[in-house]
Symmetry: C2
Subunit: 132 residues, 2 copies
């Protein structure tokens, strides 16, 4: 049997030597703010938002992630539905031909996620030392 | 459409109001201790170990979790393969008819997981306050 077959596929991300984890930020609806629907932001959706910010285009962001435009659009609609304000807006027409941009709220969501990720890494590194 | 259909199924466990998470402790092999194979311990496997400890029987533990004996046995073999010492042992024959018991190592793994879970809950509760 080849080596690649006998290896276990480990879940989550290796945030520390002995602890792997995954986390999701839940939207306004869960915290009972008006105008949001239940949903969550995990690493995959954050990467999609980051690609949209970097590329200024939904189709290019989808392509960069090997994802269909339809799936990316569905994820963005879910994300926009989570909060009272949208995270992503489409620019209609104009000289640029209508790109896709992150709103300030969208940028804050990315920052919150990546900041929490850094704090979690420090926390899990400290906790790893307690595990035999 | 019924309400249950329109609700998003959220991933992970609600460890705090705004952050859901899941974590896995990885075995000795990953930390390069001799005699262990790559693997992980997550909430499902911990619950199986806890049921074995409580019921003293693999078949009753499997039944309590709505899991086949075959699946439970496979998970226990994976867990035992992760560490230099087994976490679970089968008692052969005797008056009790051969139950299944946790070793001291198995009890330590449960304690490590549940202690980390408590610490993670406190950490995520504190982090939740930073999220808008």
């Amino acid at each position: 049997m080849p080596d690649s077959k006998s290896k276990t596929k480990l879940p989550g991300e290796a945030y520390s030597s002995k602890i792997r984890a995954r986390f999701w930020i839940v939207g306004d609806a869960t915290s009972e703010v008006e105008g949001g629907s239940e949903g969550y932001v995990g690493i995959g959706r954050i990467e999609l938002l980051e690609n949209i910010e970097r590329l200024g285009s939904m189709s290019q962001a989808a392509k960069a992630m090997g994802m269909s435009y339809k799936k990316a659009w569905k994820l963005v609609q879910d994300l926009n539905g989570m909060y009272a304000e949208p995270l992503v807006i489409k620019e209609q027409g104009g000289k640029s031909g209508g790109g896709t941009q992150l709103t300030e709220r969208g940028k804050v969501v990315i920052l919150e996620f990546r900041t929490l990720e850094k704090e979690l890494t420090l926390f899990l590194e400290a906790q790893s030392s307690k595990i035999i």
